[in-house]
Subunit: 212 residues, 2 copies
DNA sequence: TCCATATATTGACATGGTGTCAATTTGATG
DNA sequence: CATCAAATTGACACCATGTCAATATATGGA
Protein backbone atom coordinates (compact mmCIF):
# COMPACT_ATOMS: atom_id res chain seq x y z
CA UNK A 1 0.00 0.00 0.00
CA UNK A 2 1.28 3.46 -0.79
CA UNK A 3 -0.41 4.73 2.39
CA UNK A 4 2.22 2.86 4.32
CA UNK A 5 5.00 3.92 2.06
CA UNK A 6 3.94 7.54 2.44
CA UNK A 7 3.90 7.29 6.22
CA UNK A 8 7.30 5.63 6.11
CA UNK A 9 8.56 8.54 4.07
CA UNK A 10 7.12 11.02 6.53
CA UNK A 11 8.65 9.30 9.50
CA UNK A 12 11.94 9.09 7.75
CA UNK A 13 11.73 12.78 7.03
CA UNK A 14 10.88 13.53 10.65
CA UNK A 15 13.79 11.43 11.85
CA UNK A 16 16.05 13.29 9.51
CA UNK A 17 14.80 16.56 10.90
CA UNK A 18 15.32 15.38 14.48
CA UNK A 19 18.90 14.60 13.65
CA UNK A 20 19.46 17.97 12.03
CA UNK A 21 17.89 19.76 14.98
CA UNK A 22 19.98 17.84 17.48
CA UNK A 23 23.06 18.72 15.46
CA UNK A 24 22.01 22.36 15.34
CA UNK A 25 21.65 22.52 19.09
CA UNK A 26 25.09 21.09 19.63
CA UNK A 27 26.49 23.34 16.91
CA UNK A 28 25.09 26.35 18.75
CA UNK A 29 26.47 25.10 22.05
CA UNK A 30 29.97 24.00 21.14
CA UNK A 31 30.76 25.03 17.56
CA UNK A 32 30.80 22.60 14.67
CA UNK A 33 34.33 21.27 15.03
CA UNK A 34 33.71 20.28 18.63
CA UNK A 35 30.51 18.42 17.80
CA UNK A 36 30.91 14.66 17.49
CA UNK A 37 28.60 12.32 15.68
CA UNK A 38 28.23 10.47 18.95
CA UNK A 39 26.87 13.55 20.68
CA UNK A 40 24.43 14.14 17.86
CA UNK A 41 23.25 10.55 18.07
CA UNK A 42 22.74 10.70 21.82
CA UNK A 43 20.90 14.01 21.64
CA UNK A 44 18.63 12.59 18.93
CA UNK A 45 18.29 9.39 21.00
CA UNK A 46 19.50 6.90 18.45
CA UNK A 47 22.66 5.07 17.61
CA UNK A 48 25.56 6.71 15.93
CA UNK A 49 25.49 4.22 13.09
CA UNK A 50 22.00 5.31 12.12
CA UNK A 51 23.22 8.81 11.40
CA UNK A 52 25.12 7.36 8.50
CA UNK A 53 21.91 6.03 7.01
CA UNK A 54 20.54 9.54 6.85
CA UNK A 55 23.74 11.42 6.07
CA UNK A 56 26.74 10.20 4.15
CA UNK A 57 29.16 11.75 6.61
CA UNK A 58 29.61 14.64 8.99
CA UNK A 59 30.21 17.05 6.14
CA UNK A 60 26.95 16.03 4.55
CA UNK A 61 25.14 16.72 7.81
CA UNK A 62 26.71 20.16 7.85
CA UNK A 63 25.37 20.81 4.38
CA UNK A 64 21.90 19.92 5.62
CA UNK A 65 22.30 22.40 8.45
CA UNK A 66 23.56 25.01 6.02
CA UNK A 67 20.58 24.49 3.77
CA UNK A 68 18.25 25.19 6.69
CA UNK A 69 20.30 28.26 7.56
CA UNK A 70 19.96 29.58 4.03
CA UNK A 71 16.23 28.92 4.17
CA UNK A 72 15.96 30.95 7.35
CA UNK A 73 17.98 33.71 5.74
CA UNK A 74 15.73 33.72 2.71
CA UNK A 75 12.65 34.10 4.90
CA UNK A 76 14.27 37.00 6.73
CA UNK A 77 15.22 38.63 3.45
CA UNK A 78 11.67 38.28 2.19
CA UNK A 79 10.31 39.77 5.40
CA UNK A 80 12.79 42.62 5.14
CA UNK A 81 11.75 43.32 1.57
CA UNK A 82 8.09 43.23 2.56
CA UNK A 83 8.53 46.12 4.95
CA UNK A 84 9.66 48.62 2.35
CA UNK A 85 8.51 50.04 -0.93
CA UNK A 86 11.63 51.33 -2.61
CA UNK A 87 14.04 48.79 -4.02
CA UNK A 88 17.03 50.34 -2.32
CA UNK A 89 15.26 50.30 1.03
CA UNK A 90 14.52 46.63 0.56
CA UNK A 91 18.14 45.86 -0.20
CA UNK A 92 19.29 47.96 2.73
CA UNK A 93 16.88 46.13 4.98
CA UNK A 94 18.40 42.86 3.86
CA UNK A 95 21.80 44.08 4.93
CA UNK A 96 20.43 44.81 8.38
CA UNK A 97 18.56 41.51 8.42
CA UNK A 98 21.79 39.69 7.68
CA UNK A 99 23.39 41.41 10.65
CA UNK A 100 20.54 40.45 12.93
CA UNK A 101 20.66 36.94 11.55
CA UNK A 102 24.25 36.72 12.71
CA UNK A 103 23.37 38.07 16.14
CA UNK A 104 20.36 35.85 16.70
CA UNK A 105 21.60 32.67 15.03
CA UNK A 106 25.36 32.84 15.17
CA UNK A 107 25.79 29.17 14.43
CA UNK A 108 23.72 29.45 11.26
CA UNK A 109 25.79 32.40 10.15
CA UNK A 110 28.87 30.32 10.89
CA UNK A 111 27.47 27.58 8.67
CA UNK A 112 27.14 30.13 5.89
CA UNK A 113 30.69 31.25 6.49
CA UNK A 114 31.93 27.70 6.11
CA UNK A 115 29.85 27.28 3.00
CA UNK A 116 31.33 30.41 1.47
CA UNK A 117 34.82 29.31 2.32
CA UNK A 118 34.27 25.85 0.95
CA UNK A 119 35.39 25.03 -2.56
CA UNK A 120 32.41 23.49 -4.30
CA UNK A 121 33.25 19.82 -4.79
CA UNK A 122 29.86 18.38 -5.72
CA UNK A 123 30.68 15.63 -3.31
CA UNK A 124 28.04 15.42 -0.63
CA UNK A 125 24.39 14.58 -1.36
CA UNK A 126 23.14 17.71 0.38
CA UNK A 127 25.56 20.05 -1.30
CA UNK A 128 23.28 20.59 -4.26
CA UNK A 129 20.35 21.47 -2.00
CA UNK A 130 22.66 23.95 -0.36
CA UNK A 131 23.54 25.60 -3.63
CA UNK A 132 19.84 25.80 -4.44
CA UNK A 133 19.25 27.46 -1.07
CA UNK A 134 21.88 30.02 -1.89
CA UNK A 135 20.27 30.67 -5.25
CA UNK A 136 16.92 31.20 -3.55
CA UNK A 137 18.41 33.79 -1.22
CA UNK A 138 19.98 35.60 -4.11
CA UNK A 139 16.78 35.49 -6.12
CA UNK A 140 15.05 37.48 -3.39
CA UNK A 141 17.78 40.08 -3.44
CA UNK A 142 17.95 40.26 -7.22
CA UNK A 143 14.24 40.97 -7.30
CA UNK A 144 14.68 43.95 -4.98
CA UNK A 145 17.65 45.17 -6.97
CA UNK A 146 15.63 45.08 -10.16
CA UNK A 147 12.78 46.83 -8.46
CA UNK A 148 15.16 49.51 -7.29
CA UNK A 149 16.51 50.03 -10.77
CA UNK A 150 12.97 50.35 -12.08
CA UNK A 151 11.71 52.70 -9.40
CA UNK A 152 14.82 54.85 -9.72
CA UNK A 153 16.08 54.36 -6.18
CA UNK A 154 19.11 52.45 -7.49
CA UNK A 155 21.35 53.84 -10.18
CA UNK A 156 20.52 52.56 -13.60
CA UNK A 157 24.15 51.93 -14.50
CA UNK A 158 24.84 49.81 -11.44
CA UNK A 159 25.36 46.72 -13.59
CA UNK A 160 23.78 43.31 -13.90
CA UNK A 161 21.59 42.67 -10.84
CA UNK A 162 22.85 39.15 -10.35
CA UNK A 163 26.42 40.35 -10.40
CA UNK A 164 25.68 43.17 -7.98
CA UNK A 165 23.85 40.73 -5.77
CA UNK A 166 26.83 38.40 -5.46
CA UNK A 167 29.03 41.41 -4.83
CA UNK A 168 26.82 42.82 -2.10
CA UNK A 169 26.52 39.47 -0.43
CA UNK A 170 30.28 39.10 -0.45
CA UNK A 171 30.82 42.59 0.93
CA UNK A 172 28.18 42.25 3.60
CA UNK A 173 29.24 38.82 4.70
CA UNK A 174 32.85 39.94 4.94
CA UNK A 175 31.82 42.96 6.97
CA UNK A 176 29.75 41.02 9.47
CA UNK A 177 32.31 38.27 9.75
CA UNK A 178 35.17 40.59 10.53
CA UNK A 179 33.08 42.68 12.88
CA UNK A 180 32.15 39.61 14.92
CA UNK A 181 35.28 37.48 14.92
CA UNK A 182 37.57 40.44 15.41
CA UNK A 183 35.24 42.28 17.78
CA UNK A 184 37.90 42.41 20.48
CA UNK A 185 40.58 43.91 18.24
CA UNK A 186 38.11 46.40 16.85
CA UNK A 187 36.88 47.37 20.30
CA UNK A 188 40.47 47.71 21.49
CA UNK A 189 40.82 50.49 18.95
CA UNK A 190 37.82 52.28 20.36
CA UNK A 191 35.52 51.34 17.51
CA UNK A 192 32.04 50.33 18.51
CA UNK A 193 30.87 47.24 16.63
CA UNK A 194 27.31 48.38 16.06
CA UNK A 195 28.40 51.72 14.69
CA UNK A 196 31.00 50.00 12.55
CA UNK A 197 28.50 47.79 10.82
CA UNK A 198 26.00 50.60 10.49
CA UNK A 199 28.60 52.68 8.69
CA UNK A 200 29.55 49.73 6.51
CA UNK A 201 25.96 49.24 5.46
CA UNK A 202 25.65 52.96 4.79
CA UNK A 203 28.68 52.85 2.53
CA UNK A 204 27.24 49.97 0.56
CA UNK A 205 24.00 51.86 0.22
CA UNK A 206 25.93 54.78 -1.20
CA UNK A 207 27.17 52.49 -3.92
CA UNK A 208 23.66 51.71 -5.00
CA UNK A 209 22.13 55.17 -4.70
CA UNK A 210 21.92 57.27 -7.85
CA UNK A 211 24.45 60.05 -8.17
CA UNK A 212 23.03 63.18 -6.62
CA UNK B 1 79.26 30.36 26.24
CA UNK B 2 76.63 32.50 24.64
CA UNK B 3 78.21 31.74 21.23
CA UNK B 4 76.90 28.26 21.56
CA UNK B 5 73.60 29.34 22.88
CA UNK B 6 73.21 31.71 19.95
CA UNK B 7 73.99 28.99 17.44
CA UNK B 8 71.54 26.73 19.19
CA UNK B 9 68.94 29.40 18.87
CA UNK B 10 69.67 29.82 15.19
CA UNK B 11 69.45 26.13 14.50
CA UNK B 12 66.28 25.89 16.43
CA UNK B 13 64.89 28.74 14.39
CA UNK B 14 65.97 27.07 11.15
CA UNK B 15 64.35 23.82 12.20
CA UNK B 16 61.19 25.67 12.99
CA UNK B 17 61.27 27.25 9.57
CA UNK B 18 61.84 23.90 7.90
CA UNK B 19 58.76 22.56 9.62
CA UNK B 20 56.66 25.52 8.59
CA UNK B 21 57.87 25.26 5.00
CA UNK B 22 57.14 21.56 4.87
CA UNK B 23 53.68 22.26 6.23
CA UNK B 24 53.17 25.02 3.67
CA UNK B 25 54.05 22.71 0.81
CA UNK B 26 51.58 20.10 1.98
CA UNK B 27 48.99 22.81 2.62
CA UNK B 28 49.37 23.98 -0.97
CA UNK B 29 49.15 20.41 -2.25
CA UNK B 30 46.27 18.99 -0.27
CA UNK B 31 44.56 21.73 1.72
CA UNK B 32 45.01 22.18 5.44
CA UNK B 33 42.39 19.73 6.66
CA UNK B 34 43.95 16.90 4.67
CA UNK B 35 47.43 17.57 6.00
CA UNK B 36 48.49 15.30 8.84
CA UNK B 37 51.22 15.99 11.34
CA UNK B 38 52.81 12.74 10.20
CA UNK B 39 53.10 14.01 6.64
CA UNK B 40 54.63 17.26 7.85
CA UNK B 41 57.14 15.35 9.94
CA UNK B 42 58.16 13.10 7.06
CA UNK B 43 58.49 16.00 4.65
CA UNK B 44 60.67 17.83 7.16
CA UNK B 45 62.57 14.57 7.79
CA UNK B 46 62.04 14.31 11.50
CA UNK B 47 59.78 12.50 13.88
CA UNK B 48 56.21 13.53 14.47
CA UNK B 49 56.82 13.93 18.19
CA UNK B 50 59.38 16.63 17.54
CA UNK B 51 56.78 18.82 15.89
CA UNK B 52 55.16 19.15 19.27
CA UNK B 53 58.37 20.58 20.70
CA UNK B 54 58.20 23.42 18.21
CA UNK B 55 54.43 23.85 18.02
CA UNK B 56 51.88 23.22 20.71
CA UNK B 57 49.48 21.55 18.32
CA UNK B 58 48.31 21.56 14.72
CA UNK B 59 46.36 24.77 15.22
CA UNK B 60 49.46 26.50 16.50
CA UNK B 61 51.34 25.40 13.40
CA UNK B 62 48.57 26.90 11.32
CA UNK B 63 48.97 30.19 13.14
CA UNK B 64 52.66 30.14 12.28
CA UNK B 65 51.78 29.60 8.63
CA UNK B 66 49.23 32.38 8.81
CA UNK B 67 51.77 34.76 10.27
CA UNK B 68 54.06 34.12 7.32
CA UNK B 69 51.14 34.63 4.96
CA UNK B 70 50.35 37.97 6.55
CA UNK B 71 54.01 38.93 6.27
CA UNK B 72 53.97 38.14 2.57
CA UNK B 73 50.79 40.14 2.19
CA UNK B 74 52.34 43.11 3.98
CA UNK B 75 55.33 43.06 1.63
CA UNK B 76 53.03 42.99 -1.36
CA UNK B 77 51.00 45.88 0.03
CA UNK B 78 54.14 47.88 0.60
CA UNK B 79 55.32 47.16 -2.94
CA UNK B 80 51.90 48.15 -4.28
CA UNK B 81 51.99 51.41 -2.36
CA UNK B 82 55.49 52.10 -3.61
CA UNK B 83 54.37 52.12 -7.21
CA UNK B 84 51.95 55.00 -6.85
CA UNK B 85 51.88 58.56 -5.67
CA UNK B 86 48.28 59.27 -4.81
CA UNK B 87 46.86 57.69 -1.69
CA UNK B 88 43.83 56.34 -3.47
CA UNK B 89 45.98 54.73 -6.13
CA UNK B 90 48.02 53.06 -3.42
CA UNK B 91 44.91 51.67 -1.76
CA UNK B 92 43.53 50.54 -5.10
CA UNK B 93 46.80 48.83 -5.87
CA UNK B 94 46.52 46.97 -2.59
CA UNK B 95 43.14 45.65 -3.64
CA UNK B 96 44.66 44.31 -6.82
CA UNK B 97 47.65 42.97 -4.92
CA UNK B 98 45.32 41.06 -2.62
CA UNK B 99 43.68 39.49 -5.65
CA UNK B 100 47.02 38.47 -7.11
CA UNK B 101 48.05 37.17 -3.71
CA UNK B 102 45.07 34.84 -3.81
CA UNK B 103 45.91 33.70 -7.33
CA UNK B 104 49.59 33.12 -6.72
CA UNK B 105 49.45 31.79 -3.18
CA UNK B 106 46.00 30.33 -2.77
CA UNK B 107 46.93 28.39 0.34
CA UNK B 108 48.18 31.53 2.07
CA UNK B 109 44.97 33.29 1.20
CA UNK B 110 43.13 30.30 2.59
CA UNK B 111 45.09 30.64 5.81
CA UNK B 112 43.95 34.25 6.03
CA UNK B 113 40.39 33.15 5.42
CA UNK B 114 40.59 30.72 8.30
CA UNK B 115 42.13 33.38 10.46
CA UNK B 116 39.32 35.79 9.69
CA UNK B 117 36.72 33.15 10.39
CA UNK B 118 38.40 32.16 13.65
CA UNK B 119 37.11 33.56 16.90
CA UNK B 120 40.13 34.98 18.71
CA UNK B 121 40.76 32.69 21.67
CA UNK B 122 44.21 33.79 22.76
CA UNK B 123 44.98 30.13 23.06
CA UNK B 124 47.89 29.20 20.82
CA UNK B 125 51.39 30.62 21.31
CA UNK B 126 51.58 31.86 17.72
CA UNK B 127 48.18 33.49 17.75
CA UNK B 128 49.55 36.74 19.12
CA UNK B 129 52.21 36.89 16.41
CA UNK B 130 49.42 36.41 13.94
CA UNK B 131 47.45 39.31 15.33
CA UNK B 132 50.58 41.43 15.15
CA UNK B 133 51.00 40.41 11.52
CA UNK B 134 47.47 41.52 10.81
CA UNK B 135 48.12 44.83 12.51
CA UNK B 136 51.23 45.34 10.37
CA UNK B 137 49.24 44.76 7.19
CA UNK B 138 46.63 47.25 8.32
CA UNK B 139 49.25 49.78 9.30
CA UNK B 140 50.48 49.85 5.70
CA UNK B 141 46.99 50.43 4.43
CA UNK B 142 46.16 53.03 7.03
CA UNK B 143 49.21 55.00 5.99
CA UNK B 144 48.02 55.11 2.40
CA UNK B 145 44.53 56.05 3.47
CA UNK B 146 45.88 58.95 5.50
CA UNK B 147 48.06 59.99 2.63
CA UNK B 148 45.03 59.94 0.35
CA UNK B 149 43.05 62.07 2.73
CA UNK B 150 45.90 64.54 2.86
CA UNK B 151 46.56 64.69 -0.87
CA UNK B 152 42.87 65.04 -1.58
CA UNK B 153 42.48 61.84 -3.57
CA UNK B 154 40.28 60.35 -0.84
CA UNK B 155 37.24 62.17 0.51
CA UNK B 156 37.97 64.01 3.68
CA UNK B 157 34.77 62.80 5.36
CA UNK B 158 35.46 59.14 4.73
CA UNK B 159 35.88 58.47 8.44
CA UNK B 160 38.58 57.17 10.72
CA UNK B 161 41.31 55.56 8.60
CA UNK B 162 41.61 52.55 10.85
CA UNK B 163 37.90 51.92 10.65
CA UNK B 164 37.86 52.33 6.88
CA UNK B 165 40.84 50.04 6.66
CA UNK B 166 39.11 47.21 8.49
CA UNK B 167 36.04 47.78 6.37
CA UNK B 168 37.92 47.68 3.09
CA UNK B 169 39.79 44.58 4.12
CA UNK B 170 36.54 42.89 5.01
CA UNK B 171 34.91 43.92 1.74
CA UNK B 172 37.86 42.92 -0.38
CA UNK B 173 38.43 39.64 1.34
CA UNK B 174 34.77 38.75 0.99
CA UNK B 175 34.83 39.66 -2.68
CA UNK B 176 37.88 37.57 -3.51
CA UNK B 177 36.70 34.67 -1.42
CA UNK B 178 33.31 34.45 -3.08
CA UNK B 179 34.79 34.99 -6.52
CA UNK B 180 37.15 32.08 -6.05
CA UNK B 181 35.17 29.53 -4.11
CA UNK B 182 32.00 30.12 -6.09
CA UNK B 183 33.79 30.58 -9.41
CA UNK B 184 31.78 27.79 -10.98
CA UNK B 185 28.40 29.17 -9.97
CA UNK B 186 29.42 32.64 -11.06
CA UNK B 187 30.71 31.39 -14.38
CA UNK B 188 27.52 29.39 -14.89
CA UNK B 189 25.69 32.69 -14.91
CA UNK B 190 27.94 34.02 -17.61
CA UNK B 191 29.93 36.28 -15.32
CA UNK B 192 33.65 36.33 -15.92
CA UNK B 193 35.61 36.14 -12.68
CA UNK B 194 38.30 38.62 -13.63
CA UNK B 195 35.78 41.22 -14.71
CA UNK B 196 33.74 40.58 -11.60
CA UNK B 197 36.59 41.35 -9.25
CA UNK B 198 37.70 44.29 -11.33
CA UNK B 199 34.23 45.78 -11.03
CA UNK B 200 34.17 45.06 -7.34
CA UNK B 201 37.43 46.89 -6.82
CA UNK B 202 36.14 49.77 -8.92
CA UNK B 203 33.07 50.05 -6.71
CA UNK B 204 35.18 50.15 -3.59
CA UNK B 205 37.33 52.83 -5.16
CA UNK B 206 34.20 54.85 -5.80
CA UNK B 207 33.53 54.77 -2.09
CA UNK B 208 36.85 56.42 -1.37
CA UNK B 209 36.91 58.95 -4.18
CA UNK B 210 35.77 62.49 -3.37
CA UNK B 211 32.35 63.47 -4.61
CA UNK B 212 32.69 64.90 -8.14
C1' DT C 1 90.40 11.12 27.18
C1' DC C 2 86.33 10.25 29.73
C1' DC C 3 82.47 11.40 32.49
C1' DA C 4 78.44 14.37 33.61
C1' DT C 5 74.94 17.08 32.16
C1' DA C 6 71.66 19.23 29.30
C1' DT C 7 69.36 19.21 25.16
C1' DA C 8 67.50 17.09 20.96
C1' DT C 9 65.08 13.33 19.20
C1' DT C 10 62.36 9.33 18.95
C1' DG C 11 59.24 4.98 19.46
C1' DA C 12 55.47 3.47 21.59
C1' DC C 13 51.27 4.40 23.78
C1' DA C 14 46.61 6.12 25.20
C1' DT C 15 42.78 8.49 23.65
C1' DG C 16 39.08 9.66 20.86
C1' DG C 17 36.53 10.24 16.60
C1' DT C 18 35.06 8.44 11.98
C1' DG C 19 32.85 5.41 8.92
C1' DT C 20 31.50 0.35 7.96
C1' DC C 21 29.22 -4.04 8.38
C1' DA C 22 27.20 -8.10 9.86
C1' DA C 23 23.75 -9.15 12.95
C1' DT C 24 19.51 -8.14 15.36
C1' DT C 25 15.10 -6.03 16.05
C1' DT C 26 10.80 -4.23 14.39
C1' DG C 27 6.69 -4.18 12.03
C1' DA C 28 3.75 -5.01 8.00
C1' DT C 29 1.79 -8.76 5.04
C1' DG C 30 -0.17 -13.05 3.51
C1' DC D 1 2.26 -17.62 12.70
C1' DA D 2 5.86 -17.32 9.19
C1' DT D 3 8.11 -14.29 6.08
C1' DC D 4 10.29 -10.54 4.35
C1' DA D 5 12.02 -5.89 4.08
C1' DA D 6 13.27 -2.01 6.46
C1' DA D 7 15.09 0.07 10.56
C1' DT D 8 18.40 -0.08 14.02
C1' DT D 9 22.41 -1.33 16.53
C1' DG D 10 26.99 -3.13 18.66
C1' DA D 11 31.32 -4.04 17.57
C1' DC D 12 35.15 -3.38 14.67
C1' DA D 13 39.02 -1.41 11.89
C1' DC D 14 41.25 2.61 10.86
C1' DC D 15 43.51 6.78 11.48
C1' DA D 16 45.07 11.08 13.54
C1' DT D 17 46.25 13.55 17.61
C1' DG D 18 49.00 14.62 21.56
C1' DT D 19 52.02 12.67 25.42
C1' DC D 20 55.88 10.56 27.74
C1' DA D 21 59.50 7.78 29.11
C1' DA D 22 63.56 6.37 27.00
C1' DT D 23 67.44 7.06 23.94
C1' DA D 24 70.83 9.63 21.25
C1' DT D 25 73.76 13.59 20.73
C1' DA D 26 76.63 17.20 21.82
C1' DT D 27 78.90 20.29 25.10
C1' DG D 28 81.93 21.46 29.10
C1' DG D 29 84.79 20.18 32.83
C1' DA D 30 88.12 16.92 35.39
Amino acid sequence: MSYIAARREEEKERRRLEIVEAAEQLYAEHGWDAVTMDQVARRARLSRALLYVYFRDKEDLLFAITERALGELRRRFEAAAGEHELGIDQVSAMGLAYTLFQQERPFQFDACTRYHAHQTHEGAPNEAACAAGGDAVMAVMVRSLQRGIEDGSIRRDIGEPIKICVMLWAFTHGLIQIATTKAQEIARRGIEAGKFMEEGRAKLRELLAPRA
